[in-house]
Symmetry: C2
Subunit: 303 residues, 2 copies
């Protein structure tokens, strides 16, 4: 069993759920890369970032939706793996010198620091491309379901989603944003893939339209909460636990929730979105749903 | 009508065919980008490279296959647009300082020279992502056909195809390759997307398996011929026509066919692959097929 570091913040039930899902997901991710008939250096670079100890929060959301709706689906881990590949490619490209120019990610040297910039760019490109292949080959999905997932992924990961958010974020470096503008950046940059996760879970669970709408609301609120807590951790987090330098946002003059709302205001906003997220999933029959535990975790996490 | 510059080298029938297809393809490409709900700066950057006057040889191959098999398909231009988007993203990333570090492409400043490196990386990422969306939304295709095309695209564009070829090409900069090794680099780096084009045409035309196999052979040979002519043009081409600096490969110590085989040997090899490509499509009923004219054009082109 993989032991997680967030011992203090995490509910036992969620911890068990996370550990079991991560230990099932890891081999699916590794097989997706290792079986590629390509240069070993490229595969190494892809695996380096894919296995760098991410929290796997996105695949976990897919699994959480299925669990809470009382469903199982053989493609759960494959769709989770595809999503984690998209998330990982975005981190590799985001860390590049031309973008955020980060040397460390989760306490380890970033991909381009180890493999060089050219390989890092190509490893990201390959991972983005292969993620569609992983969905296209996932088991027990109809062609229509595969296409629905692929189109949802292009919408949430591409120009209208995550990539669009990264462009907005870059442009924002030069100016002071309002709270609404900041929320819009994060709705796209971080929120879009969280929405994909929850919607993908709903597709696999064949959830009815009204439940799916509520799950989308849940995703929106935990997306904002996730980002607020990220910003708070940048101010008060422990470098040894977060794996990144505390105070980096302020140093770079970044737009953050504490900077716009004060720390107290940011904490209140965090609780507000947590409450709204929990309300959105009140339709679930499970009195102690994984999705609520994930919402709790998001606002209490220390890394 | 768009007038092409390769007046000398191009057969009238092919020229008419090319001009009609390019003028139909251009609006499909533009609509695919302009209708995206995203930052205008990102769209501008994507359109800049998409409309930079590429030869559209890949979409043209799709159309050529359909034409020569006597078929039409409403998705012809959409699949062509998706392929051209993949090709264009690869050029944007390839030109980056961390990769080939090129300032000019087709006689115009490269994407990162105009929009900056960060936007160029993201424009490439967005274009790669959206290409799958364009296929997923193409008209008059069954879900099974869309998935077949998407999986073929991931295989030919990703780690096992074009991206893998770019890694190989990068690694080759430090060493002297044999002819076989050089052929393998180009089979992936350039050949894979040409193969996609021809196979996609065969899928749209519902070509029978034996014809499809012959078309694949054709694609392999024109792929190699295309690269040999590229290498020859780098030595003897007219900068004003090619849009890039003559002699750049030799200056950078690149592995090229003339360097390995001598110029005379490279020319013979070029003719050999042309002959093999023409043989592979001898099954076509049309006595003057577009695919043969494309093969002729590839070995006679001056840019």
């Amino acid at each position: 069993m993989i032991r997680l570091r967030e011992e203090i913040a995490m509910n036992e039930k969620l911890k068990d759920f996370m550990e079991s899902r991560i230990s099932e997901l890891s081999p699916v991710l590794e097989v997706a890369v290792k079986t590629l008939d390509t240069e070993s250096r490229l595969k190494e670079s892809m695996l380096y970032s894919l296995t760098a100890g991410g929290k796997r929060i996105r695949p976990l959301l897919i699994s959480g939706v299925l669990h809470d709706l009382g469903k199982v689906h053989p493609a759960e881990l494959h769709v989770g793996a595809a999503l984690e590949m998209i998330h990982t490619y975005s981190l590799i490209h985001d860390d590049l010198p031309a973008m955020d120019d980060d040397d460390l990610r989760r306490g380890k040297p970033t991909n381009h620091k180890v493999y060089g910039e050219a390989t890092a760019i190509l490893a990201g490109d390959a991972m983005l491309t292969e993620s569609f292949s992983v969905i296209g080959k996932a088991p027990s999905l109809t062609d229509a379901e595969k296409l629905e997932l692929i189109l949802l992924l292009t919408r949430t990961a591409g120009a209208e989603g995550m990539v669009g958010g990264q462009v907005l974020d870059m442009d924002a470096e030069q100016k002071k944003l309002s709270e609404n503008e900041l929320e819009n950046v994060h709705r796209l940059k971080t929120g879009a893939l969280l929405t994909f996760a929850v919607e993908a879970g709903a597709i696999l669970a064949k959830a009815k339209a009204t439940d799916r709408e509520q799950l989308r609301r849940y995703a929106r609120h935990i997306g904002i909460a996730f980002q607020i807590q990220d910003d708070i951790l940048d101010v008060v987090g422990d470098e040894k636990v977060t794996g990144k330098k505390t105070g980096a946002d302020a140093e770079q003059g970044k737009n953050t929730y504490p900077a716009i709302l004060t720390m107290e205001g940011a904490r209140q906003k965090l609780l507000h979105h947590h409450t709204e997220a929990v309300k959105a999933i009140s339709f679930l029959k499970d009195p102690d749903p994984i999705l609520r535990l994930i919402a709790d975790y998001i606002i209490h996490r220390v890394s």
